[in-house]
């Protein structure tokens, strides 16, 4: 177990280095002079030169790269051009809002998917199974920039039950979390259903039934427990997708998280901030994937680490 942990951690290092290199190279993809673009067409030459020096873009690329890695190792992500504050500080102030939203969406997705998936798998091929399976495809195909405004029209404009946007009390969480978690919930439902159908054909389920256990006990205590293992992996992997989805959801609901910050930074051509946001999301994604891999082994003792 310890050697697996070490190996898995070591494998993460080149991936993270690759991510950092890619994000660093982005500023060199900008067509033309990135500093001129940041300051606008009418900027004074002296201002352009000053910002170029401040961003270190007057140095050779290798020096820039070395400095970028060095700064990163010391927790420095540069200074935001728009806010005039350290990028790391801005991201840290917005990060909790995004994590809260993503975690709530994950909880919503899982708490809806598990009972619905079990219900569909209990009678595979029945009308309720077909209805629920079709509903999941609809849910997966419904983009959050469609479901978000639709939810606002229904629950905020027509019914007046929930606030339109912003981050305040618990009511503010409902629409963004449900919008972000809806398609995750649909994917998980399909996974729970597929896993349950597979488990229900196993010998231990026949044994449980022949012992005279009720169908509910067989479903929930025996089959569900085993079918949840791959679901946990998907939950972990989908967390990253939620972070990316948060960019749109946060924009729709004016949620003050890293996603909305990314869009604001892109629109104001604040490249150091864009790079910082990308790194924050990618690092979170890699970390969650790492934790999921480790959790997978803990959940299923049959999996041997080699």
């Amino acid at each position: 177990m310890r050697s697996f942990l070490l190996r898995r951690l070591l494998l993460t290092v080149p991936v993270l280095l690759g991510v950092v290199t890619l994000v660093f190279s982005f500023i060199h993809l900008v067509p033309g002079d990135p500093v001129q673009i940041m300051l606008g067409e009418g900027a004074q030459a002296a201002d352009v030169e000053q910002l170029r020096r401040k961003l270190g873009l007057d140095q050779p690329v290798l020096v820039q790269y070395g400095r970028y890695i060095w700064d990163l190792l010391h927790g420095r992500l540069g200074t935001s051009f728009r806010f005039g504050e350290p990028v790391s500080q801005i991201i840290l102030s917005r990060y909790p809002a995004t994590l809260q939203l993503a975690t709530l969406s994950l909880c919503f997705g899982a708490s809806l998917a598990i009972p619905v998936g079990v219900l569909a798998a209990a009678r595979p091929g029945s009308w309720i199974d077909r209805l629920l399976t079709s509903a999941t495809l609809l849910g997966i195909s419904l983009p959050n920039f469609v479901s978000g405004p639709a939810a606002i029209i229904l629950f905020s404009v027509v019914l007046g039950w929930l606030p339109v946007s912003g981050r305040g009390g618990p009511a503010h969480f409902v629409l963004p979390a449900v919008t972000l978690g809806a398609s995750l919930s649909a994917i998980l439902t399909r996974m729970v259903r597929a896993g349950m159908i597979e488990e229900l054909q196993e010998e231990y389920v026949k044994t449980a039934r022949s012992k005279g256990l009720t169908e509910t006990t067989v479903l929930l205590k025996h089959a569900l427990r085993n079918s949840l293992i791959p679901v946990v992996t998907v939950l972990g992997l989908q967390f990253g997708t939620l972070l990316a989805g948060a960019i749109i959801t946060e924009t729709i609901f004016a949620w003050p998280g890293v996603g909305r910050l990314t869009v604001q930074a892109i629109n104001s051509r604040d490249y150091p901030l864009v790079q910082g946001c990308l790194l924050a999301i990618a690092f979170t994604y890699v970390t969650v994937n790492l934790l999921t891999d480790l959790a997978y082994g803990l959940l299923d003792p049959r999996i041997k680490y080699r």
Binding site: V30, P31, I140, P143, F145, A194, E198, I247, I281, A282
Partner: protein, 284 residues
Amino acid sequence: MNLFAILRAVGSNRLALFGTAAGTLLILVALLAPVLTPFAFESQNLPLRLRPPSAAHWFGTDELGRDILSRVVYGTRISMSVGFSVVLVSSLVGLLAGSLAGYYGGWFDEALMRIVDILLAFPGILLAIALVAFWGPGLEKLIFALVSVGWVGYARLVRGQILKVRELDFVRAARSLGASNARIILRHLIPNIIQPILVQASIGMAGAILAEASLSFLGLGVPPPLPSWGAMLNDGRSHLFDAPYLVLFPGAATMLAVLAFNFLGDGLREVLNPRLQSGSRIAR
């Protein structure tokens, strides 16, 4: 399974049939856009701004008085052309990279897998958003950004399939008969792994349509006045209270397109490999 057998099987699967019908309809709408639209998609008529659906403007008008129906129909053209371009180029690049890596192995395989690992360290659309953010908006840049992200899935899939097939007897037989490596890859390996690629391509089409709409929604996609469903949804957000039809029609069109190709992919998967149950590879 040859092409005719696949088509016959598609006809017998309700999901695939619905997906094919809806996909064909969308392609026809895209091709016949100039005939189907009552107005030019860019023609403005300010006195008629924000009019609800009527006999003259079936889907209403937007805040510049443009006909929403015409813009939704022309938006189909953008979505379909982005979808097809992205799927075609991504699958070709993925097929080439994945088959070379899977067949030859060695340093190329190692290098490819490390690149794949790095690209997969970014959640889905985030990398495309990043690329477009730095490159700037534009149709070609958008397609290029989506291809830069999209080929990875195909390369990984193809590599895995080639690794499975390359040691089978028929490949050894071809090799012992003196077939060249190129001939083995093109004539023996690729035809035998094409089925999962078809499924991936169909789901990838839904993904590309969704990604284009997402980027356009964020203002990073197709530049105005070209009509994109995502951009129309974004424009309509400020009128959710007084003109909800601004988001209703482009939203429904996006959903139909994504649903059609997801249904097709899901149906194809069932048809081509009935043992596989519906999983999580669907585009979202």
